[in-house]
């Protein structure tokens, strides 16, 4: 460890923290929907603006994946994989967040409703 390492670490730390702050601002306000993909195909769209508490079941590659919606947050509750990375990740609610479950080939993405309207138009 020398002085140059220190400078490099400092610069990268500042860049990281700055981009984390900037990305946090990019979470668009408004009603959100969660889109669930299996192998690139949309299999489920969940309206997060309804503020409901409900479990959804979808089929992943390793079996059933249970997705829990709690108010405006969504998480993978139960799934069959070696490391359980996506169920450990917990709730997501921002449109900058996503859950990727590689072994099950399931992806959950959050989008703002307005953003989808613009895409459609």
């Amino acid at each position: 460890m020398n002085k140059n390492d220190g400078i490099m670490i400092g610069v990268i730390l500042i860049l990281c923290l700055l981009s984390i702050l900037i990305f946090a601002k990019w979470d668009k306000k408004g009603d959100k929907i969660a889109i669930v993909y299996y192998q690139d195909e949309v299999i489920l769209t969940i309206d997060l603006a309804k503020n409901e508490k409900k479990d959804y079941q979808v089929m992943g590659k390793n079996g059933t994946v249970i997705i829990e919606v709690n108010q405006d947050k969504i998480r993978v509750k139960q799934e069959n994989s070696p490391l359980h990375i996506c169920s450990k990740q917990g709730y997501i609610s921002k449109n900058t967040e996503s859950i990727v479950c590689l072994p099950n080939q399931i992806v959950i993405q959050i989008q703002t409703k307005n953003a989808i309207d613009t895409v459609v138009h």
Partner: protein, 165 residues
């Protein structure tokens, strides 16, 4: 290439495979924080880079990915391309960083960071998920810690290694 060099490189390759397998068996190293693992096998890559050079490091790195694919994760699936992309980026930047005034720990940190960058790029490409870029700063923060630990290990082991061999 001398017999001695071939023997040592194959021993190091085997060690890196062993470390990979060992790591996947120890839960603390693997998946405690989603998306971040320590990458013990990179100790060997850093060591080979300082013992021999870029060419040998690339050879060991690519062979390790290939052999890990055959032994554990399977060839040419998504996991294979993830580790391939990470490894190529990581060794590439470490070769470059070694020529600068950075110490071994600095080189290892950069290698670790570019491992994450390579994986995020290939994940965005393969999963069509541009949103993953938002996780990059967090992964880089994690990489800096694991990279520093790996660099420290490599430095310590290399010192002993040079004394014994």
């Amino acid at each position: 290439m001398t017999y001695q060099k071939i023997t040592r490189l194959s021993m190091l390759l085997t060690l890196s495979l062993l470390l990979s397998i060992l790591e996947s068996m120890i839960p603390i190293f693997n998946g405690m924080i989603p998306g971040i693992k320590i990458g013990l096998a990179n100790i060997i890559l850093v060591m080979v880079l300082y013992l021999y050079g870029a060419k040998e490091t690339f050879a060991i790195a690519l062979l390790r990915v290939l052999l890990m694919g055959i032994l554990r994760t399977g060839l040419f699936n998504i996991h294979f391309f993830f580790s391939l992309a990470g490894t190529i980026c990581s060794v590439g930047i470490m070769t470059f960083a070694k020529k600068t005034k950075l110490s071994m720990i600095g080189v290892s940190i950069l290698g670790s960071i570019f491992h994450s960058i390579g994986q995020i790029i290939i994940a965005i490409y393969l999963l069509h998920l541009p949103n993953l870029i938002y996780y990059l700063p967090w992964m880089i923060l994690g990489s800096m810690i694991t990279g520093a630990i790996i660099g420290y290990f490599a430095k310590t082991v290399l010192k002993q290694f040079k004394n014994t061999l």
